[in-house]
Symmetry: C2
Subunit: 297 residues, 2 copies
């Protein structure tokens, strides 16, 4: 792991530790912290921060640092809330996440429902600090991007398709559409939030959008591969769930080998988008695309 | 009902009809619309719009109209999402809401979970339109207010206290604290969003805050009274649930008569806050305070 990644992970963990409130009433704060702290690959926050790094002007404004960190944590909270709700008995009914009991196992179903709800709200709270030098245009832009990526036309819409598709025969195009919303939208949003936080040029934003779109699909293809090839201990969540639930996946549609080729092709496409793009230092974005392809969990 | 209220209700219904998407994937859009359209008192939207009316300058900017309407609909979406999740089997397990089957009865538990999640997100999407003359300071201000009112220190926090208090003996002060978060925060936020949308003066904002705080508690006291005195058909939701669930209420703590006196005292306090306040036309705000006290459902 490059030094930059290690540094940024420390920043993100410290910020989440500070911003996810331990003192929310009753068990709410503890349930929220259970869902967010001590775990997670933090891919979305790293994408935000890598994107800021690639877009920031030579002399970045002081507030850009804070804007990037707030955006990084906000999108991780959205991701965390979606996992909490996904794991509930009425959805995937999963008891293990990031190697720990899921939130509804630890805090009850009502507690998990509320914690997820409050994590989503907290994301928008983080993006609109009451005392801050972050310009209102950046704050409003980040809120708008996050809402569109997480909502009915993005992540939540993808989950609705996913829910409706259990036991159904999907075409490859329908499967792509589902994942473009369910997982891709938030990965793409991460990259674009970095662009807004760093006030990127239109050209740079366009390049990042292409990168984010390819990476989003690559991530999901690899997820489907790992569901088949990894074991539960390494994965930190229950392996083999998709096949057990008769969910269509890239592996079930393409076969394992073709799915692996597709993942490699998409990761290469993401790398290509970064070349000749008017971006600055894209090293971190390149590393993240490598990691998405090669990850073991 | 004054002509102003009737007009504004039409505006809000039309806007919600337009903004809650029928075409979200699978059943998601229909479940969201089931939760929001054709029902509800629209108290929160009316508070936003009444507050805009009381704060707007003599020659309001053209965008203020749109900002008020977006804020009105956004807070109604937050309210609607909270009802969808509250009604779920793991929370209040209610099957009837606004005289209709609850969302989880009509669309299943997973469908209700997702619809509530997507309604919350949509609220923030409405506040950050991509093409609009609403200044970014107003957009960011509205997002921040809504997030704080709905989150762990507001509505969601109040629900966590509520959840933990079933079967517990609360003091009057603890009960007040719970409702200040659970119901009061969002009513107060409605009024303050109106102030932000109309770029109110500090003096006017302070007066509206006092009004909103008193009104918020009054609303909950009346809610507790109606749970005892109204029947299910008029209420549009199951009456007598609080007593059945051994939930502490103003009526169980104070007795019916003293609760009625407390409601009247708080409504009068709200009215007083509007006098000598530097506000403009407060007629709509006055009518809403009257309505909160006298409502039958």
């Amino acid at each position: 792991m490059p030094a930059w990644t290690t540094e940024q992970l420390v920043r993100v963990e410290q910020a989440l530790e500070q911003w996810v409130p331990p003192d929310a009433p009753a068990d709410l704060g503890q349930a929220m912290r259970h869902a967010v702290l001590d775990g997670g690959k933090r891919l979305r926050p790293l994408l935000v921060l890598a994107s800021v790094r690639a877009c920031a002007p030579p002399q970045p404004a002081a507030w850009m640092n804070e804007a990037g960190l707030r955006a990084a944590c906000a999108i991780e909270l959205i991701h965390a809330y979606s996992l909490v709700h996904d794991d509930m008995p009425c959805m995937d009914n999963d008891v293990l996440r990031r190697g720990k009991p899921t939130v509804h196992v630890a805090y009850g179903e009502a507690g998990a429902l509320l914690a997820g709800d409050a994590l989503q709200t907290l994301a928008f709270e983080l993006l609109t600090p009451t005392h801050s030098d972050i310009p209102a245009t950046v704050q409003a832009g980040l809120c708008g991007l996050l809402a569109r990526g997480a909502g009915h036309a993005g992540m939540a819409g993808g989950q609705a398709i996913d829910l409706a598709s259990v036991g159904e025969q999907l075409t490859l195009e329908q499967l792509r559409q589902m994942h473009r919303c369910k997982t891709g939208a938030l990965l793409e949003t991460s990259v674009m939030m970095g662009a807004v936080a760093a006030q990127a040029s239109a050209q740079a934003s366009q390049a990042l959008l292409s990168y984010g779109q390819a990476l989003g699909v690559a991530f999901q293809v690899v997820d489907d591969i790992l569901d088949v090839t990894a074991d539960t201990a390494v994965l930190g969540k229950t392996a083999g769930k998709d096949a057990d639930n008769h969910k269509p996946t890239y592996v079930s549609l393409l076969g394992l080998q073709a799915a692996q080729q597709e993942a490699a092709r998409l990761a290469e496409q993401a790398q290509q988008a970064l070349a000749h793009s008017g971006l600055g230092d894209t090293q971190a974005l390149q590393s993240l695309a490598d990691w998405v392809l090669q990850r073991k969990h």
